[in-house]
Symmetry: C2
Subunit: 499 residues, 2 copies
């Protein structure tokens, strides 16, 4: 899951709680060392994929002269297990290079043979090589304006339909898969395009993280609960560390802090330390996997427990900053390769990136830190957020649009009477699970929840070290997908058109 995870983590973390009395930036930077990026891009898929490009329409929902512009949308395809008429498994790409998702969704190559499935990974518009205006795509709202989830879903619909026609396999059932934002897209795709896909496996898809559907503090409360479950002392040390950090906001304090955090260059602000720690705790929570893994960075099995062991091993009187530095080092330096840390020089991933645009337009996920969280308490100031978006992009967010377009409120009542064939899988270690669907809605819109699972762990390649619950989770998912497909073929047999 290496790269994919990294990417998701970075971009999903956007709505950090406001830390400290005077936040230095509305969206604290997430540090992400350049060398780690390089490492991740070298990952390869388990099986070879052919790269293709589809001439996609810029704007499906209007007919202005500009709307009919075409751009080349990238997709990856593997036919090695497929036979005509057999299922087509489509990964609904999220906010990144589709190669990353193909390399990090071993689950699909793992299960394709038993379904004789065609595998297709479609890149999301405006990411990777699928930029409608090339290098100019991110210039302004004039171009970025076409980066929306509904356009992306329509892209998938158009491309899948064309692909099936070209393969002369129009009767093939299509199942969509996605993780994180990709999981949201997969679930929404099934809801909006049931005539194109027979079902969706949406892994770690926080489709309820909009408006006030789930409590705004739930994300950071979940992070905190994971640490508290590992060790109460660990949780309290982290919770207390922010006050110590804030006290260091003097020239001398920064010099001392630079030493404590082994920074390569002297620090100029405490906010970079705050963000660095914050990222370590949040990302580690998301990837609190049961096995050693290299999702974002190399980490041991159950890394939260390991972090807390480090904190708990210190003498009680040691400064909290020393303790949290040591804990964060597990995340940043598990392989012990780093001599010093660049806390202030990471690439500006909060610049004009695609996800930031999406977060400033439709993907408004308000988050707060409650008094119970291990982070400093904070509110979500919508006006401040909106002002910042207008300043950055010249657009105003539409904070209620996602729930208008895709629903979410009273989702159980709505979907128990409408729709079918969606699996929402969530691991409760993952703080995003709190914005996911965690209970069965109907006989065929089901939740698979694993207490020890983390961010779309089910999509990782199977390994010999996988715990039983993970093996069982994947078995269940495969079984349900088999049922969908069997019902589809049975229906098809009854439909004279296809006999």
């Amino acid at each position: 899951m290496g790269l994919k995870g990294v990417f998701l983590l970075l971009i999903f973390l956007f709505p950090l709680c406001m830390a400290f009395a005077i936040p230095t930036t509305l969206f604290p930077r997430v540090h992400y060392p350049v060398d780690s990026l390089k490492q991740v891009t070298s990952l390869k898929p388990k099986i070879p994929f052919e790269t293709r490009f589809y001439p996609q329409l810029l704007d499906h929902f209007t007919f202005t002269p500009k709307s009919s512009k075409r751009f080349y949308q990238k997709y990856l395809i593997n036919e090695q297990y497929w036979r005509n008429g057999a299922p087509i498994f489509v990964y609904t790409g999220n906010e990144g290079d589709i190669e990353w998702f193909a390399a990090n969704t071993g689950f699909l190559p793992d299960i394709a043979p038993k379904f004789h499935a065609l595998l297709v990974f479609i890149e999301h518009r405006f990411y990777g090589e699928s930029k409608p205006f090339g290098m100019d795509s991110y210039n302004s709202a004039e171009t970025l304006g076409y980066l929306t989830s509904q356009q992306a879903l329509a892209d998938y619909a158009v491309l899948i339909r064309s692909l099936k026609q070209n393969l002369s396999s129009e009767a093939s059932p299509v199942v969509v898969f996605g993780g994180s934002y990709g999981g949201m897209l997969a679930a929404w795709f099934r809801m909006k395009y049931p005539h194109i896909t027979i079902g969706a496996l949406a892994s770690s898809a926080p489709i309820l993280h909009f408006d006030n559907i789930v409590p705004r503090s739930s994300f950071y409360d979940a992070v905190s609960q994971d640490f508290k479950d590992a060790s109460l002392n660990c949780y309290e040390v982290i919770k207390g560390s922010w006050a110590e950090l804030q006290q260091a906001f003097t020239e001398e304090g920064l010099a001392e802090l630079s030493k404590t955090f082994r920074t390569c260059k002297n620090l100029h602000s405490v906010s970079s330390v705050r963000d660095w720690l914050w990222s370590a705790f949040v990302y580690t929570t998301m990837v609190n996997y049961p096995t050693e893994a290299n999702f974002m960075r190399p980490l041991p099995a159950y890394p939260i427990q390991e972090m807390c062991k480090i904190i708990d091993a210190f003498a009680p009187e040691t400064s909290k900053l020393d303790k949290v530095f040591a804990a964060a080092s597990l995340y940043y330096n598990y392989s012990h390769g780093e001599k010093c840390f660049n806390l202030e020089n990471g690439p500006d991933l909060h610049g004009l990136s695609g996800w930031n645009w999406q977060a400033c337009t439709e993907m408004v996920m308000p988050m707060t830190c409650s008094n119970e969280s291990m982070f400093p308490p904070s509110e979500f100031d919508y006006e401040e957020f909106a002002t910042d978006c207008r300043k950055k992009y010249g657009v105003s967010p539409r904070p209620h649009w996602i729930t208008t377009e895709f629903g979410g409120e009273r989702i159980e009542e709505v979907l128990k009477r409408f729709g079918s064939n969606i699996i929402f899988s969530n691991g409760m270690q993952d703080p995003w699970s709190r914005g996911g669907v965690l209970r069965n809605i109907s006989t065929s819109i089901v939740a698979i929840v694993t207490e020890k699972g983390a961010h779309h762990v089910d999509f990782r390649s199977a390994t010999k070290d996988d715990p039983d619950w993970l093996v069982e989770q994947r078995r269940q998912e495969v079984e349900i997908i088999h049922q969908w497909i069997n019902v589809y073929y049975a229906d098809m047999k009854q439909d004279k058109k296809f006999i």
Copy 2:
């Protein structure tokens, strides 16, 4: 139903078969006397409506700077039967002034009292007073580009949500109603926005009239069948009349024709006669109602039967043109007020009208005339059609977009496993019924088909002359809607949020 009917008929008739060897225009004009328009606009709704305007977003699906422009969308509201928490009945306006639809959907005021329902008629963008660019709205593709069915559905979603919030009645169940294109919108709205509406009554909604889902000749075959059912001789006279008409394409012939058709001015072409006759036969078929009605024009009960009686009363040797003129006169002159007919001077309803734009972009409904029809055989020449659209509007149609966005192919297989609570009502006299859903798909996606019904006859105000089958049809519809609402309230009771 007066005005609404007229309007629908006119705009829905766009894909006329190509008549004669050399069609004079790709889209034969439909004659529509100005005095009739005046008559129709004087119709008033059965109950008073308050007119309101909602500041609607120009483009829901992009975030370009232009997309955030607001325009005022008109809607009509009547609260006289309503109480807070009770149902909201929304008419999803189609291609015309919303006043017309309110005036011509007596069914809703008829049933509102027993539901204590709020009535809302929302105007479709680009029609009536809801023109996003005012007088410039129809200038070019730059402005017209925002006239699409998906934008219209999103308008309805946003407006309904806002309305419920303003009424502090967010728990009110919403049921949507629509006839003809409005029926397509109602059905699609339930499919795409199940979180906003609990069900849809889609009357005479030809959602399958796209691509090759239903045979392309079905519309005109249905018209012909209605005439054949009335009288074989009648059908044969009409079928034979086109050849006689074609022979009149000389100076002398036209002079003779002008006399036969009692034209106010001398004719310059036979195509205007062809279109005049064509309109009479097609429109009469659509409104072949069981009672005397003034839907488009005043007509007797079962006007096809009356037309055929006129034709059959002639001596066999009389010229066919004399016979069809007399038959068409029933349609144009039932009240005997016309001294002569303006066949060539009707308003240009096929100019830059909204429906022509929609037909040239997404609403591509290919139609042909088979050898069995009473019209001259013809094919649908897509290239010619697309070229004409490009010439007229500078845009290319997207002929497969509606089926990609809304489905339609294998609809029974898809919707029996997905979705709920849609009534598709169709009258088999109406040729549009052939593109409708005519069989139950599941226990809650049902078809109500009446052999003697015509174009959304169920939406007309109840009258004392209504036949039993029509009374029964409306009773069934009300009963089903009652069930939806009861289930919704029962679900709500179980949902703690709303107790």
